[in-house]
Symmetry: C2
Subunit: 253 residues, 2 copies
């Protein structure tokens, strides 16, 4: 009934997996091997024309983009554990944060992850082979990201990304001084979003940011989210990443 195409329990795939585990929804897991560029295979692009994971299939309907998938699970399974406030204002607070994460955090943490991991990977591929791989990528923005990763992200862009992440860290810290969770008194999709797309690995990805000192409440929040059984269950999903390339989760830098 529910089928999820996903990669390692990291970033957007982790974000989707946490929702499933927190809600205790059974699903068929289909691993998409990003190391083999399976997300650009014609068979996969036939399912998601954007060539990106994760993808949810429910009773034949295809749903993409993790923030959309997450709200879909809330709407489609109202009897499962709720990760969304029941009141209108709580929902608005949650959506303010999920939108902030989607638009002002995700791609900036991702740039640093790619800078450390994908640049190495992209440069290890022979030029002709690399161009063939690029031709298979449906989204213009993803092709550009790969090419930039190969040539190298500019210091100015990396510095701007760091600045964006610092703004997000300070914003979350300020919010957590007022409420126990990002959207208020309840653990919601906002927490899952911020955690999965970078909040969980700030210390390891950006030691120079000194997050423990700069944002003690956020650091405590990371521990609180990490300890949740649903989050642990998501982390326990298979991770086939070459350990030497695990920069995003922080094992390598």
């Amino acid at each position: 009934m529910l089928k999820l195409y996903h990669a390692e329990p990291v970033a957007n795939s982790l974000k989707a997996l946490i929702s499933f585990k927190e809600k205790a929804l059974p699903f068929e897991s289909v691993y998409v091997d990003l190391h083999k560029f399976e997300q650009h295979d014609p068979a996969f692009v036939a399912i998601n024309p954007e060539g990106q994971v994760p993808v949810l299939i429910h009773d034949g309907a295809v749903i993409t983009h993790t923030s959309v998938i997450a709200e879909y699970l809330e709407d489609a399974f109202p009897d499962a554990t709720s990760l969304r406030p029941s009141d209108a204002l709580g929902k608005a607070r949650m959506r303010y944060w999920t939108k902030f994460c989607d638009e002002h955090v995700m791609s900036y943490v991702s740039m640093h992850g790619w800078h450390r991991m994908i640049t190495v990977l992209a440069r290890s591929i022979d030029g002709g082979e690399f161009e063939k791989l690029m031709e298979r990528i449906p989204l213009h923005e993803q092709r550009e990201k790969w090419r930039t990763a190969r040539s190298g992200f500019s210091p100015a862009d990396l510095a701007n990304a760091t600045r964006k992440i610092e703004v997000a860290v300070d914003k979350a810290e300020k919010q957590l001084a007022e409420t126990p969770w990002l959207a208020g008194n309840q653990y919601t999709l906002a927490d899952i979003n911020f955690f999965a797309i970078g909040g969980m690995s700030l210390e390891r990805l950006f030691p120079e940011m000194n997050v423990a000192k700069r944002a003690p409440r956020l650091t405590e929040w990371v521990a609180r989210v990490s300890a949740r059984p649903g989050v642990q269950a998501a982390f326990a999903m298979p991770n086939r990443t070459n350990p030497a390339l695990r920069t995003f989760t922080g094992e390598a830098r």
Copy 2:
């Protein structure tokens, strides 16, 4: 009970106003004069620290960002005319499109609008006065946008924005070949979003795109959305823009 701070019925302010008019929700209208930079006044920034319109106040709670405001009105007034599908899959289809508009259309149409309007305006302000105005803008991104508008958007950035808009036009056209509205069989927040942030003025802003020929279904859809009494009521809200500067709505280029 409901108070909306907004500017002219254009772009994001229009997007919020259409929801109110379609849902026939009475509200107190508070006009924020962008020509006088009232959105950066300390009194306004005390309400919305981001210094941007529109802002909704409902029973004392402050709600910002039009896509969040729009869903809030759906949640808070379930008995008013619905602009959101009632089923989970319909909601997901709607949110796929609202997210696409927010992330891949809005700022690109906006860049062309600013290129034609704000560059003229920003250059008419004396350098010292301009820097004083910049100091009042809370969001880094908005300050950068103003500075770039003054120095001039680069041809490469403008060309990329045009490309993004062409992708959006073709994507909407393809969708409208399958369903009468962007998210399916019902007029939703997705239609309002795409219409308000640029769909309505494609012909006038980008005549070289030849939208009528390139996207006949989208052109018919623009006429259909425009003709709605709720949309007409939103357009009838006061518009104090200097007619010579009405590039975004297309009166001037």
